[in-house]
């Protein structure tokens, strides 16, 4: 399940053979002989072009306009971006998003790795465990956000009741800016930890046990073999999960939107008390659909895209240090 680079796949006997008919022919003849393959990959590229690439480019175009959704568009140059740079709420949203992402992703992936390691060393009930851990990721996010919101309610939620039962003071989960982020991060962690654990498990099971035995013969302890064997071999998978978690985590929208509701007549979709739950996507939604400022919304989403690209590049650098 590793994210392969564009280099040729690992050599397997016979994979280099080309169809004899087009051996050594170049140019159009050769391209024509591969027509079925081009046709096979075209649906995806066509759909992507039409439904993803073109809209994304249109967003770029839109970010240079002022548009309220119903009327005409007015060209305004870089005004939206200029406003964006000085917009304190945007930077607040960005820092919220980053903090939530860090709070969620790092513990989640680590716990997933630990769970995968544990699952790998049990022999019984593995199927049961795997299903049980995987189920949260198939649950409706809307339902779970509502659930978390109710359970972490500042005054009357289950969590505070439990804390009270063991003598700890109640925590204002939904009013304190930090705890709000923690709750959102907990939600994301809960939902995806099992999913990532299953992926890591698959990777762990692909590592031949002979490597571990050889290491043990050489005198390596469990920790050493974990860091010298497991992690390097899992690196492509880890990179994959980190990238996926980054791309989805930085775009989080559903959790704060559902949690803090949108029916307030003053300040809808504002991310809760102190705007602590305002993520960039939620801010984008607020600007576009509450303030009818679609041009500004477009600028916000492009700023987010750039941030995502930056962070993915950094992730790549950190995790994929050795090229396989």
């Amino acid at each position: 399940m590793a994210a392969q680079s564009t280099a040729a796949p690992r050599s397997r006997p016979g994979s280099a053979r080309r169809p004899a008919a087009s051996h050594r022919t170049r140019g159009p003849r050769r391209v024509w002989s591969f027509l079925p393959q081009y046709l096979a990959i075209s649906p995806f590229f066509l759909v992507f072009l039409g439904f993803a690439l073109v809209p994304v480019l249109f967003t770029l175009y839109l970010s240079f306009q002022r548009w309220d959704g119903i009327g005409d568009m007015h060209y305004v140059g870089l005004e939206q971006y200029r406003f964006l740079i000085s917009d304190r709420t945007f930077w607040l949203a960005l820092s919220n998003t980053l903090i939530i992402w860090v709070l969620a992703t790092i513990p989640m992936l680590f716990i997933a790795l630990v769970i995968a390691a544990m699952l790998n060393s049990t022999r019984r009930l593995t199927a049961f465990y795997r299903i049980a851990y995987f189920v949260p990721s198939v649950t409706s996010l809307v339902a779970i956000a509502i659930f978390f919101f109710a359970v972490f309610s500042s005054q009357f939620g289950l969590v505070n009741a439990a804390l009270h039962a063991i003598g700890l003071p109640a925590v204002p989960w939904m009013s304190n800016p930090w705890t709000i982020k923690v709750v959102i991060a907990l939600l994301m962690t809960w939902q995806w930890v099992g999913y990532n654990a299953i992926i890591y498990l698959a990777g762990l099971q692909a590592i031949p046990t002979e490597l571990y035995e050889a290491a043990r013969v050489d005198g390596a302890g469990p920790v050493q073999s974990f860091f010298r064997i497991t992690i390097p071999l899992l690196r492509p998978i880890i990179l994959f999960t980190v990238v996926v978690s980054t791309v989805t985590g930085l775009q989080s929208f559903t959790e704060p939107q559902v949690m803090f509701g949108s029916n307030a007549s003053t300040n809808p979709n504002s991310g809760g008390p102190g705007q602590a739950g305002l993520t960039v996507m939620l801010y984008f939604y607020h600007q576009a659909f509450d303030n009818n400022d679609f041009g500004y919304g477009a600028a916000i989403s492009w700023a987010l895209f750039l941030v995502i690209m930056l962070i993915v590049a950094v992730n790549w650098r950190i995790v994929a240090r050795t090229d396989r």
């Binding site: 393959q37 073109v54 198939v138 659930f147």
Partner: protein, 276 residues
Amino acid sequence: MRRRLRSRGLALHALLALGVVLCMFPFYWTIVMATNTTEDIYRYPPKLTFGSQLLVNVHKVLQNIDLFRAMLNSLLVACTATFLVLLVDSLAAFSFAKYRFPGRNLLFGLLIGMYLLPTQMALIPQFVLMVKLGWVGSLKPLVLPSLANAFGIFWMRQYIVGAVPDELIEAARLDGCGFLRQYWHVGLPAIRPGLAFLGIYTYVSVWNDYVWPLVVLVNPDRLTLQVALSQLNTTHNTDYSMVMAGAMIAVLPLVLVFLLFARNFIADATKGAVRG
């Protein structure tokens, strides 16, 4: 030595069991909330046991939203999208994995770039596009854009590279099979577990999709489940027991179906991944 292994095994199982409890607890609690009244939920200390209000709450849910039709719509959209994704992605991935056509590396590199593009940001133009196509308010906008996700091709390509022996393809070719035949007779049977995993993944993500349907499903008679559920959630008078009853009805079928088939799917998927 054996005693140490046994106690370690027990500790392991204890930890894993704790994790299972944490994973499963929200479901249990959702059912508790769905079977009580909203005031029971606000009680302090909260009620932890089942109540008798389930039918009352379900009735309230059905009064407020057309839950079953929304589920049906979600089912329809998810099935269609999953089928299309499996078809398109497996064909494309098969081509990328097993055939060296000109420009393959370039196109695959393009794919990677496309994967990193967070298409959610293009919400507005996609909406405008749907307006131009006249698809707003129907279920169509939910199906095609889900095809534009490169993850499926990545996963399938990786899987196919390992799972489909080149010799079999070569043999098929020598037997006179064209590309489609090779795909059908050689490729498909070998990648069944990979298809299963991708199928679940796609089905679940289409089922749970929230933002896009929220924007594009303007016809109140034609909603998907997530959007319908969120309509139960109002800030002023949220009737939590009703909302949880709705959530329970929404979640349980998916979980049950998953539980029924997952044993095989996950086993196959991990088995298959091992081969890769």
